[in-house]
């Protein structure tokens, strides 16, 4: 085992290659079991489900690189959705309601950021609390009932633009911006520094608190964007929106090679991780038509990927 890992390392072992290999194997197996799954038409139809998760995974990658975590994204999506639905129902114009939803989502993220950076509470406990609180507020305010239907002017955002879903365009732009930010700007490199050694980063004069605050706020803002995209596509604003999304997103980020201990990871890996999770989930749902099986698969994937990562990279310890 150790010899194998050493060989893999010298052969330019990269998490990305493994992910691409896994993806090829998965698609191959899926194609052998059910050829209709790998047709372009089926994939295009199924890809509707990926964009929301993919957008949420971008800020999550950066937060996990700082050795933090944001468990509240799914609940923030619900909070923003309900804000949008209720305010539109109360007679606020659509654009106003959308802005309000984005504002509430950003404020929700900022609350996480404030508690993590200024009050210095562990992000795990902060976002576990807001996971409950935001979902609870969404359920309480909407009395558990979805708002539907939504105006046509809004639901057209759930459609396509130039043949590609609007959500995909949003994701593509955000992914490029995030990748450039992380890889090419000083502040992006500081994100890694915080994850490696927060105290060291602080002593080097990096504005650790400000960066953390902004990252969690960004996570909230993008959760708001995802909320609007979900609502537009499903033509309903439900307090159930985004339920369990945090798990899929964290699993994808971790599978994508971002270290849960911080300091390591990148956007390309996350995109591959999202793709892998997405194809796995959709195939399980397609072939066995079972959502429960998916819970088992994703839960096990999360643990297995960290375990594998641990065994391969830190085999010495």
């Amino acid at each position: 085992m150790r010899a194998l890992t050493a060989k893999l390392k010298t052969a330019g072992w990269r998490q990305e290659y493994v992910l691409v290999m896994l993806l090829v194997v998965l698609i191959g197996v899926a194609g052998a079991l059910d050829p209709t799954f790998v047709t372009a038409r089926a994939q295009l139809k199924l890809s509707e489900n990926i964009w929301g998760l993919a957008i949420l995974a971008l800020p999550m990658t950066m937060i996990i690189i700082t050795a933090g975590i944001d468990l509240s994204v799914g609940s923030t999506v619900a909070l923003a959705t309900v804000t949008f639905g209720l305010s539109w129902h109360q007679g606020v114009p659509v654009w106003g309601a959308a802005l309000l939803a984005l504002g509430v989502a950003t404020a929700a993220g900022a609350l996480n950021g404030f508690l993590v950076s200024k009050v210095k509470v562990h992000p795990l406990i902060v976002t576990l609390a807001t996971l409950a609180a935001f979902r609870g507020i969404a359920e309480g305010a909407s009395k558990g009932k979805p708002v539907t239907p939504l105006p046509d002017a809004f639901t057209q955002f759930g459609d396509t633009f130039a043949g590609i879903p609007v959500a995909a365009w949003v994701f593509a732009v955000l992914a490029i911006v995030c990748a450039l930010f992380l890889g090419r700007t000083p502040n992006g490199r500081f994100v890694y520094a915080i994850g490696h050694n927060e105290r060291g980063a602080r002593f080097s004069g990096i504005a650790v608190d400000r960066i953390l605050f902004l990252l969690y706020s960004l996570s909230g803002l993008l959760a708001g964007v995802v909320a609007l995209l979900y609502a537009a596509r499903r033509n309903t604003a439900s307090p159930e929106a985004g339920m369990g999304n945090e798990l899929d997103v964290i699993t994808a980020v971790v599978i994508g090679g971002t270290s849960i201990y911080g300091g390591r990871g990148n956007i390309v890996g996350t995109c591959l991780g999202i793709l892998l999770i997405h194809e796995t989930r959709e195939f399980v749902r397609w072939y066995w038509s079972s959502d429960e099986l998916n819970l088992i698969v994703v839960g096990s994937l999360l643990v297995a990927s960290v375990l594998a990562h641990r065994l391969l990279r830190f085999g010495k310890k």
């Binding site: 009050v119 609390a129 609870g136 849960i260 099986l293 088992i296 839960g299 096990s300 999360l302 643990v303």
Partner: protein, 341 residues
């Protein structure tokens, strides 16, 4: 000195002293919680005197029983600096197991065997979590987040989406029986609290749990086995989740695939609100017990204040708010007190 300041203290000083008093209350979490419980009881019973009815108080205690049992386990986990958010799903899985084995509609095993099996299964799953945390060195939040999801999937698959009823009398006895006028579930919960208190305060293991949480590096240097201790606390939590499952199923006499959903959050809320430091090493069992009483009472209060059926929808928001309040109060108290404790 003190007499001087009481004689001619300016209003600002008095205010300052009042704030100091509040912070003392916040620091010794148990008094703060007692005060909150007392305030809640007084306010609610003024509005509806039925609240103080003996039957209602017993109801609250019986609702608190399965929660406090699990909270004892999770508290030990948190004291070692780890966390376990899989207890809700584990409860669902164990309930399904109990239902499949003991229910007259299914295997109809002898209830004693089924009960033993459930307790062992709980401890075994807990031990698996512990192994992945200690040997696999995967962070406990990741392991238990994965477990939270995977175990719920297993539960729904094995139960096939139906409820299971018809439990033998022995199982029902655990939830509804009485011995000498004392409800069995309250008795069991009290026994678990006493056992946990005994482990924490009077055994070397208890001291090691505190030592490990407050300074992992130092405890490694003095030769404490991190692995054994963590393995124990996770297995103990799994076992206690089994006990809580028995109490809850005995009470309901019915198992749904969604059993225990959200329980992990309630338990973590109770542990954090009860004053256990989330980074480990600090916390008192009586704080946790009081926090459980407070949180369970909150649920009854929502119904007693006649806020309508929608009021219960706010329950999760209230839980989250309580955790946030607890951590912010902790922060203020420790900052005011200078560095650390």
């Amino acid at each position: 000195m003190s007499t001087l300041s009481t004689v001619d203290s300016p209003p600002a000083g008095r205010l300052r002293r009042f704030a100091d008093g509040l912070l003392v209350l916040a620091r010794s979490r148990e008094y703060g919680l007692l005060l909150l419980i007392a305030l809640t009881v007084v306010t609610v019973s003024i509005k509806s005197p039925d609240f103080l009815d003996l039957g209602n108080l017993r109801d609250i205690l019986e609702q608190a029983a399965p929660v406090v049992v699990i909270a004892c386990g999770v508290m030990l986990v948190v004291l070692t600096g780890e966390i376990d958010i899989s207890v809700g799903s584990l409860m669902g899985l164990l309930a399904a197991l109990l239902a499949l084995l003991a229910s007259a509609d299914r295997c109809a095993w002898h209830p004693a065997v089924a009960i033993l099996f459930v307790l062992l299964a709980g401890a075994a799953v807990g031990a698996c979590t512990g192994l992945m945390v200690t040997i696999g060195r995967v962070p406990s939040i990741i392991v238990t987040l994965g477990m939270l999801t995977a175990l719920r999937g297993v539960t729904i698959l094995t139960m096939g989406g139906e409820n299971i009823k018809n439990f033998p009398a022995m199982v029902r006895f655990l939830g509804t029986g009485e011995v000498l006028g004392l409800p069995v579930d309250i008795g069991v919960a009290a026994a678990v609290v006493i056992l946990t208190g005994f482990i924490l305060v009077l055994t070397p293991l208890g001291r090691r749990i505190f030592a490990l949480g407050s300074n992992p590096h130092a405890s490694e240097l003095i030769g404490l086995s991190e692995r054994t201790i963590k393995l124990f606390v996770f297995a103990y939590t799994g076992f206690l989740t089994g006990v809580a499952t028995l109490l809850a199923v005995g009470k309901l006499g019915n198992v749904a695939p969604s059993m225990g959903k959200g329980r992990e959050l309630l338990v973590v809320t109770c542990v954090v609100v009860g004053g256990v430091s989330i980074s480990g090493g600090r916390g008192k069992l009586r704080g946790v017990v009081l926090a459980v009483l407070l949180m369970v009472m909150m649920r009854t209060v929502l119904t007693f204040m006649e806020m309508g059926p929608e009021a219960t929808k706010w329950e999760r928001a209230i839980q989250g708010a309580f955790i946030l309040l607890a951590v912010v109060v902790d922060h203020l108290a420790s900052r005011h007190h200078g560095s650390g404790r």
